[in-house]
Symmetry: C2
Subunit: 161 residues, 2 copies
């Protein structure tokens, strides 16, 4: 069943309008959930993260790159939270090396959206990472759930957004 237009808009808003999500990483002690800032790249081909190598989630990613990011509409505290839209992006996280051809573009995109992160680009322990979404599982409420692959995400998020 194709997504209806309302859910397409809700999903695009989560991916491109939000900037704070929860990352699941794996460690020998079990899975870890932590909040991270994120910025979607054009066509949602990648999700940029700027992380400290001193943080547990980063150490986890360097040992096991598979990860999952959930982005949820904010809970206003009223009604049934299960009706809130959310999307889980699953895939693997790669390092965006400072000498990579796309580093400057990625850094500029991240900082355009999250200018407050500027000073942290001067910290030695911070680095840029990219989650490559293999699958997106969107839930817009009861009976409104869809799974999208990279092509579906690219269609939703215009390359020039």
């Amino acid at each position: 069943m194709a997504m209806d237009h309302e859910d397409e808009l809700l999903l695009a808003e989560l991916l491109c309008g939000r900037r704070w999500g929860a990352l699941a990483t794996a460690s020998a002690d079990g899975p870890l959930a932590s909040m991270v800032a994120f910025v979607a790249e054009p066509g949602c081909s990648g999700i940029l993260l700027h992380l400290s190598r001193l943080a547990a989630h980063t150490r986890n990613l360097l040992a096991e790159p598979r990860a999952s990011l959930v982005i949820g509409a904010p809970d206003g505290g009223a009604g049934d939270p299960q009706t809130l839209a959310r999307v889980t992006l699953s895939g693997a996280v790669e390092v965006v090396e400072p000498d990579a051809a796309d580093y400057a573009t990625a850094r500029a995109r991240y900082l355009e959206r999250l200018p407050g992160a500027g000073p942290r680009f001067g910290f030695g322990d911070f680095g840029l990472f990219r989650l490559r979404p293999r699958e997106a599982r969107y839930v817009g409420g009861f009976g409104r759930a869809w799974t999208l692959g990279p092509a579906g995400l690219a269609r939703l998020c215009p390359a020039d957004s």
Copy 2:
């Protein structure tokens, strides 16, 4: 270093004032992040979840009970999101069986806080689960991070809250 009073209040608000968090579970395909509703039990000795056995996170928990729940202050979209308070609770999830001595109390507590979940207690695929926090990692912003165990959580969350 002991937590300052402001951070104690922020942490208590996350645990007792919020009701929508992100759960990290483990699967053979890697970690999974998903949004779940939660209700803290007295003294934060347990975090109640009401989950469908049809959901991927529940299947994951039944195979690997170790999990982690992150609760974050909502992002208003301005400023640096890294300054937002959040807490990660890590531990193992157990089933609260319908014939358990504490089931009725747990169910009543859950429904008092999340009355919209009422109809789902009649669905055969839903069940009550409890995350037992082994450790809480609170971050109130830069340079404001503390790790608490069950005793620290119990002190923060009064047993009659």
